[in-house]
């Protein structure tokens, strides 16, 4: 039976809601048209594939099973030792999680990064880089075998990735709905790249992802692909675990933002009068406070709340989880004002529309008008704002962690990785791999998110449509 932390269940619920919303919007012609415009944008569709991969990893990392069951199934020493529920992602990355080293080691290294005194079997002491426990532990003569072993593992991994891709491609080809000219013709059209969603570009993206995963997976059978960190933890594992934190902050925050912005924005725009004045006052006040400072103040207050109720946050996981949730809520509470203002302005416009006037003349109640006539017509604004906010929230997480008002230091996050890697830059010889990993993982999420958000905005914003 899976164990769910609050953020897990919220995240899964949110993905569910997102799916339903997407499905509904695809069934309505006036919304299908802008989606088609998004589908025509090749960069956006390639980005969507990458974003879905990130979402999938975050989802895997949000389904937890109790440690005992995991220990029985996977016979894992580490899980039983920690005694906390492990996620499906942890199980999949068992090898990375288990292969602890003593301290820093470079990517794919066989020897540790720093030298130390070691005693040889014959009693002599030498000052050298010691062998790693896990990285290249299978090699008897590292100097001679290292390159060949790397090549073997990498090629196996790449082949496996290619195989998975071909299998996916085969399944997809079987699932293709035969067009007027038959299945083969549709497939050929996809191959030439002249289908409406650019299937070929998307398939190639999937190929790249499969190959990357295969390469990393293959090499990680015997090495720390991206090196190890200060206490010998695998950097690739850290980077992968951080995906959940980043994605969660980017998505859950909107869960806090949306209800506030929607309810207050619609009320202000629809009822006007003193309701409008009050709500405008509220958001102008909040808006006047510099964002980072408001977040910092709220996080300080939250920390002191946690210190007061220490008993409720007994385990490390609940504490870190509560802090992540609180961060999302606080980010949401401080960032709803922009969307609220947009929604208010749009509602002001909508309420004067003829069909709304007609509904009112026919005696339709306020609630019904808001639900049937106003709310659905705000969909595009909400969608654009959610899409645009996602990437800035992921970036904000890193900055906030640096200021120590981000996620719990025990939570794996890119912000925490950067924060600790910053000090490693001063070491001699330089330890660059933690920083590089955080950079690549973040960049690979934020760039597609930006490209996709641009496409969504261009497609849904009526002002941008020629």
């Amino acid at each position: 039976m899976p164990v769910l932390l609050p953020t897990d269940s919220l995240f899964i619920l949110m993905l569910f809601g997102l799916g339903i919303l997407l499905w509904r919007s695809l069934r309505q012609e006036h919304l299908r048209r802008p989606w088609r415009r998004v589908a025509r944008n090749r960069a956006a569709m390639v980005s969507a594939v990458i974003l879905l991969t990130y979402l999938f990893i975050a989802l895997l990392d949000s389904i937890r099973i109790p440690a005992s069951a995991a220990a029985n199934g996977g016979a894992s020493e580490a899980a039983a030792f920690i005694g906390e529920p492990v996620t499906l992602l942890d199980l999949a990355l068992e090898r990375l999680r288990g292969g602890q080293e003593k301290t820093y080691s470079a990517p794919l290294a066989v020897y540790a990064h720093a030298r130390e005194m070691t005693r040889l079997p014959d009693g002599r002491e030498i000052w050298a880089n010691p062998r790693l426990r896990f990285g290249g532990g299978q090699l008897a003569h590292p100097e001679a075998e290292h390159g060949r072993d790397l090549f073997r593992l990498a090629s196996h991994g790449l082949l496996a990735g290619l195989g998975v891709w071909l299998a996916c491609l085969g399944l997809a080809a079987l699932a293709v709905r035969p067009g007027r000219a038959g299945r083969l013709a549709s497939l050929l059209a996809a191959w030439r790249g002249d289908t409406l969603p650019p299937w070929r570009a998307m398939a190639l993206t999937v190929l790249m992802i499969c190959l990357t995963v295969g390469l990393m997976g293959g090499l990680s059978q015997g090495y720390h692909v991206l090196g190890t960190g200060k206490v010998g933890e695998d950097v690739l594992y850290q980077g992968l675990k951080s995906i959940r934190t980043g994605v969660l902050i980017g998505t859950l925050t909107t869960v806090a933002t949306l209800p506030l912005a929607l309810v207050l924005g619609i009320l202000a725009g629809y009822f006007r009068g003193w309701v409008d004045d009050l709500i405008q006052y509220l958001y102008t006040t909040l808006n006047s406070i510099p964002g980072v400072l408001l977040i910092a103040a709220s996080m300080l207050v939250m920390q002191s709340y946690m210190a007061r109720h220490e008993a409720e946050f007994a385990s490390l996981a609940t504490r870190a989880d509560f802090r992540l949730l609180a961060l999302c809520l606080i980010l949401g509470l401080t960032s709803w004002t922009g969307l609220c203002r947009l929604l208010r302005a749009e509602t002001l416009k909508l309420r004067e529309m003829e069909y709304v006037q007609a509904a009112r003349a026919l005696g339709v109640g306020h609630g019904m008008i808001l639900w049937r006539h106003i709310l659905p017509n705000l969909f595009h604004l909400v969608l654009i704002s959610v899409a645009l906010d996602f990437s800035s929230l992921v970036l904000a997480e890193a900055v906030l962690s640096y200021v120590n008002i981000g996620v719990d230091p025990a939570t794996e996050s890119w912000g925490n990785m950067i924060n600790s890697a910053r000090l490693e830059m001063a070491r001699e010889p330089i330890v660059w791999w933690s920083l590089a990993t955080a950079f690549v993982f973040m960049f690979a999420l934020v760039l597609p998110a930006n490209l996709f958000a641009d496409a969504v905005r261009d497609a849904f914003d009526p002002r941008r449509i020629e």
């Binding site: 006052y281 510099p290 103040a297 920390q303 970036l395 200021v403 120590n404 920083l435 960049f443």
Partner: protein, 325 residues
């Protein structure tokens, strides 16, 4: 004009009162002085006397809003709200929890902040606007497409990487400037160059994109077509006609942040060890000094509201069509 300004200032009062009340609620009601004392003195082995002493030394041992014990006006004045929160309106920041005078700290630390923030803003504006104009000049060519894509890519990199990368490359590998630090007077220049350069580069992505949209909106307008029809060169159209007309939206963005330059940038200042208000705030957050954070929140809000006011005034200066009434 004067009428309008007075009215705007009066509007600002309820806003400031709201901010004041909000920060007060956050720092004294949701999070009581007892909690603050415990966070500073430690959670476990702390006696009630120690907490009471800590609160008394900092003046936190009074009732929140209403003092039954006092007589006359003291019922209101001898409360935390009156002494700690309302004083902010007169810029009486009081003492930090560690005991230093916040007002004096701010007066001293705002100069290094300004030394970084003003050149960053000016250089950033110059670079962003010229690059954006360049992209608009080459619109509908490959250059625009790749320039736009490059901007998105630059935008997708966290500020932290720009800072760490810049410090490593320029400070450590090339040894052109010191990695971090600050000095008084003209000696400060060599410390200022790196943070300013990095600030400008980190802002290029979003800045250029923002100004480009502003310019593109103008490019479609009738007066631009007329200007071209008259036979003006494209550069002339861009620099005299479009740039002038895009001034209003540009000003909206810039004038608002002018007063906030005083408070500096949190991240930049702490990375480069610049003794400005940004690093002051960060230190306060890390030491959980609630008095400083409270003062900075209020100060930031006041400056923001002043910025909004300045924006309105600047409109009338740039665009003679705008009349404030």
């Amino acid at each position: 004009m004067i009428d309008y300004l007075i009215r705007r200032l009066l509007y600002a009062l309820p806003l400031l009162l709201g901010i004041n009340l909000l920060t007060f609620l956050l720092f004294f009601v949701v999070n009581t002085p007892d909690d603050m004392a415990r966070m500073h003195l430690g959670q476990k082995h702390v006696t009630a006397e120690a907490v009471a002493k800590w609160k008394h030394e900092r003046g936190y041992d009074q009732p929140l809003f209403w003092n039954e014990g006092g007589g006359g006006a003291e019922r209101i004045t001898r409360t935390i709200f009156y002494q700690k929160s309302l004083g902010l309106f007169l810029f009486r920041f009081g003492r930090s929890d560690a005991g230093s005078d916040i007002g004096a700290d701010i007066a001293q630390r705002m100069w290094p902040s300004l030394a970084i923030a003003v050149p960053s803003l000016l250089a950033g504006l110059a670079v962003d606007i010229s690059l954006a104009l360049l992209l608009v000049f080459f619109r509908l060519t490959y250059l625009e497409f790749w320039g736009g894509t490059l901007c998105v890519a630059l935008m997708s990199i966290s500020t932290l990487f720009y800072i760490i990368g810049g410090q490593f490359l320029i400070g450590k590998l090339l040894r052109l400037t010191p990695i971090s630090g600050y000095d008084d007077g003209w000696n400060a220049i060599r410390f200022v160059i790196l943070p300013v350069a990095i600030g400008v580069i980190a802002g290029i992505g979003s800045g250029v994109r923002w100004y480009r949209t502003l310019f593109l909106e103008e490019v479609e307008k009738d007066y631009v077509r007329t200007a071209r029809a008259k036979g003006l060169s494209e550069t002339r159209v861009l620099f005299t006609h479009i740039l002038k007309n895009a001034m209003i939206p540009i000003l909206t963005g810039v004038v608002v942040v002018l007063p906030l330059l005083f408070t500096g940038s949190l991240i930049t200042e702490s990375f480069f060890a610049i003794p400005g208000l940004g690093s002051y705030t960060i230190d306060a957050i890390n030491q959980q000094d609630f008095a400083i954070v409270r003062s900075m929140v209020f100060l930031g809000s006041v400056l923001y509201i002043i910025g909004l006011l300045l924006t309105d005034i600047s409109y009338t200066l740039v665009d003679p069509r705008v009349r404030l009434s």
